[in-house]
Amino acid sequence: MQTGHDSHADKQPVNTIARTLLYVPAIIAFVYLGAIFSVQIEYPVLSWVIFLPIIGGFLIFLIPRKHEMLARATSLGLTLVAFILSLPLYINFDKTTAKMQFTEVHNWIPAWGIKYSLGVDGISILFVLLSTLLSILCVTVSWTAITEKVKEFYGSILLIEGSMIGVFCSLDFFLFYIFWEAMLIPMYILIGVWGGPNRVYAAIKFFLFTLVGSLLMLVGIIVSYYYTNKSFDVLQMMNTTYPYTIQLILFWAFFAAFAVKVPMFPVHTWLPDAHTEAPTAGSVILAGILIKMGAYGFLRFSIPLFPEAAKAMAPIMIVLSVIAIIYGAVICLAQTDLKRLIAYSSVSHMGFVTLGIFALNMQGIQGGILQMINHGIVTGALFLSVGIIYERTHTREIAHYGGAATAMPVYAAFFMIFTLASIGLPGTNGFIGEFLILLGGFMAWKLMGVLACTGIIIGAGYMLWLYQKVFFLETNPYAHYHEDVNEREFLTLLPLVVLVLWIGFYPNALLSFMEVSVQGLIDRVNVSAQQQITQNIIEVIK
């Protein structure tokens, strides 16, 4: 009845946990003091958070090649400082207004009316914080995994971090596009240089897919520029009413860019390759933040700029989302590659996000945003976890695993929590997001809401199957797990567990940030639709 004693394997992590727990107060104290300090001093928060990593990323290239540890430490320090610097966003954010906050506006290219304009509102602020947090973890998880071209690796990560934050903060379309595209360069390198066996194909596929989409958006941006009286100012664009046909065309032009990034159903195939082949940190960034940029784009640009088109196209978007949910989930059942499975699960989960967004109601959009954060945390964590075990076994084949829970119980516990969050178990963050999305989706279109729910069933199916194959059963003789998580890995995963449970039990902490902004967005959609109807009536009368 009882399986054999293997207390040896059980005893070993005891020390790890004990030692790790000593660090926790230190980290809490560090963050706390950092927060106090950063709140006290006045500085342009967003610029610092964007450019500290970017400049740091370039400076890292100057470190002599032989000082690998210095490069690691520097990048860890930079990401930590960036995180601390971003804390005032959380503390000082005014949740009662839908206006942009922490704004910075400077003239940049007066000839084209382009401004260096930054700011966050309830929709974007969380992504900034998520980016600064995940970047730290990307650095720590790669600590021993990356041994070649160390400084280039960390430089790339820092460049990506800065650009990603830039994407979320830009209030000028041109600036947005610069960050949006600039990120491709280090990401391309990251996948292509430090990735898996098929990395080159994956890198170029990722690059071309994204580029085609973005370039169409570029055309859309320029067209909207001329319709906005020659301005790239996003806020001004939001107050412009474009002619309906133009809205439709631009909506699809923007769709090209955002849908590829999300990725939505027919254009998703870059994702499994890129996520699978990228190094751990790359996968984390890709899954955690980069693909959020697409959905964020829908929220920040497509919907408020072209409200009538968004409203008219919402059914198509919802159908595509539901296809992605089911498609992504079913295809997961057929995967044999650990990372590939998680990658395809992202397709499914991002389907939920877009479903929520295009439900165009409070629950849906809030759920969508929350789910983006959740997915960032959870899938990021899953990729981190996979990276940790990959470092030991050097295989991604699910069939080569088995019995990992025996050899690595602590790790198994972490993975279980993330698995549960991924399948949306109540008490984890995934539940809140999916619940709100499905509620919103169901309110918008009942049938699609019902179909989307099936994604949850299949989701449980493949994630539990994965968990079983990797962690349960007898230890696979081919897998060499060596040892359970060490302190560094433990501390990498711990914050994410805390977030998973914190958001799961107290989602209002985040929902309250976006409430007002999302309300503003919905008002924009409804009011302009109203206007459109009025206009149509007037035209008919004429």
Binding site: A111, A182, R199
Partner: protein, 469 residues
């Protein structure tokens, strides 16, 4: 008979260029020095001096035949910058290639002078002569490695096709002359505005378009370019890909915007066709290349296609976009060629395999240039494309821009392949490089400009370089 001396101020830059060049030819004979570097240094000095003088020498002279306005000045800057960069990357390279003749620098100078005259000429006769001045110099430059069959072949192909195209140009000019009794573009414009369009005029215009399309290597008049770029010494190729192309655009702008203004509908339609074909041919054929110089040749064909969009826009904005584009293109393309020259063996794309391992800095710079050529922000290449697209969309040619954008995405493939080879492929053999200060300077200038323009585009855009109307 009293012949008044015309006002020479506007033409001082060209005069200085010519005089210095003639002097160089003379001096070079008497110098026994083994290296001819000092000739190059003099050329750079002259070019810098001329650049300094250009803004001060504005005006119209020789009876309206020669115009130095903002438009021509900008182009002259592009020519001179490409000249300076070419000379910088040439110094040690032509020694390596055993092509170091004193005439090398003189010919570069003559070619530049020809381009400058082209940019400034308001008369088809002067234009033709400037073009021939440039063309003949470049034919010789292409074949300056006279012991190398490839160089010979390049020169011969360039020469024969160039002569063929200038004969076509002449036929066009002669018809235009016959229909307007004038060779001055402003008078032609005036005449054309009064009368109605005749088919003969269209034929003349088409012939002129074809000849100019040859100069900017626009499809289907591009076929010389890959062979010539490949065969010519790399430094000369670098020069070809920027200077004569920019000169071609300068005259296209001048002639079509002023002389054939009333036929705008027609030439726009033709140019749209040419532009799309050019982008298609350039990008699609670049994908299958294995030779670096050849790939860059097709890339430069493709870029000519993008630049044509600015002309198609038919507005001052478009023209300015073209100028900016060419300036940016000069920096990024010169940078790429500087790296090809830096390497001992840089002709084959396979030579770049694993470059990031042996020479990470070189690889990183090449990466920047490749991304810039692709048009990814925050590099200058993006600003150039963005500018062009803005102008074209503003003029209502959104669908052409969409086509351009698609080809631009295709172009990413072959530029990324270089990056891929450098960073993601295993090293086959340790690449040997020949670093020298001049080449380094050229690289540094290009790199800095690519970033500066990319991040602070205000330094190059936003000014309107109006043509003298």
């Amino acid at each position: 008979m009293n012949i008044p001396l015309p006002d020479l101020t506007p033409i001082i830059p060209e005069i200085i260029m010519s005089i210095v060049t003639c002097a160089l030819l003379t001096v070079e004979v008497f110098v026994k020095d083994k290296t001819k570097d000092f000739l190059g240094i003099i050329c750079i000095g002259t070019a810098l001096a001329v650049m300094y003088m250009i803004p001060m020498s504005q005006g119209v002279t020789f009876g309206g035949m020669f115009i130095s306005d903002g438009y021509s000045s900008y182009f002259k800057f592009i020519f001179l910058i490409s000249l300076i960069l070419t000379i910088l990357i040439s110094f040690k390279f032509i020694q390596r290639e055993d092509a170091e003749f004193g005439e090398y620098y003189s010919l570069l100078m003559f070619a530049t002078a020809g381009m400058m005259i082209m940019a400034s000429s308001a008369d088809l006769i002067l234009l033709y002569l400037g073009l021939e001045l440039m063309a003949l110099s470049t034919y010789i430059l292409a074949g300056i490695k006279r012991h190398d069959t490839r160089s010979n072949e390049a020169a011969l192909k360039y020469f024969l096709l160039g002569a063929f195209s200038s004969a076509i140009l002449l036929f066009g000019i002669s018809l235009t002359y016959g229909l307007t009794t004038s060779t001055n573009i402003y008078q032609i414009a005036e005449h054309l505005k009064q009368g109605e369009t005749s088919i003969t005029l269209l034929i003349a215009m088409i012939m002129i378009i074809c000849a100019f399309a040859f100069k900017i290597a626009s499809a289907p008049f591009h076929m010389w370019a890959p062979d010539v770029y490949q065969g010519a010494p790399t430094s000369v190729t670098a020069f070809f890909s920027v200077g004569p192309k920019a000169a071609g655009f300068a005259v296209i702008g001048r002639v079509f915007f002023i002389a054939f203004e009333s036929l705008q509908m027609d030439w726009t339609a033709i140019l749209i066709g040419l532009a799309i074909l050019t982008m298609a041919v350039g990008n699609i054929l670049a994908i299958v290349q294995t030779n670096m110089k050849r790939m860059l040749a097709y890339s430069s064909i493709a870029h000519a296609g993008y630049a044509l969009l600015g002309i198609i826009a038919g507005t001052t904005e478009g023209l300015n976009a073209v100028m900016t584009y060419l300036l940016i293109y000069a920096f990024m393309n010169m940078g790429a060629f500087a790296i090809v020259i830096l390497l001992e063996k840089g002709e084959n794309i396979k030579d770049y395999n694993g470059l990031s391992k042996s020479h990470p800095l070189v690889a990183a710079m090449m990466l920047v240039f490749m991304f810039s050529l692709t048009g990814i922000p925050p590099t200058a290449g993006f600003i150039g494309k963005f500018n062009i697209f803005m102008a074209a969309i503003n003029a209502g040619y959104t669908w052409v821009v969409v086509v351009a954008v698609c080809f631009s995405a295709i172009s990413a493939y072959y530029y990324m392949r270089i990056v891929m080879n450098m960073f993601m492929k295993p090293m086959e053999a340790e690449a040997k490089i020949y670093p020298n200060p001049a080449n380094g300077a050229a690289l540094l200038i290009s790199l800095l400009m690519v970033f500066i323009i990319g991040i602070m585009p205000s330094v190059v855009i936003g000014y309107t370089f109006q043509m003298f109307m």
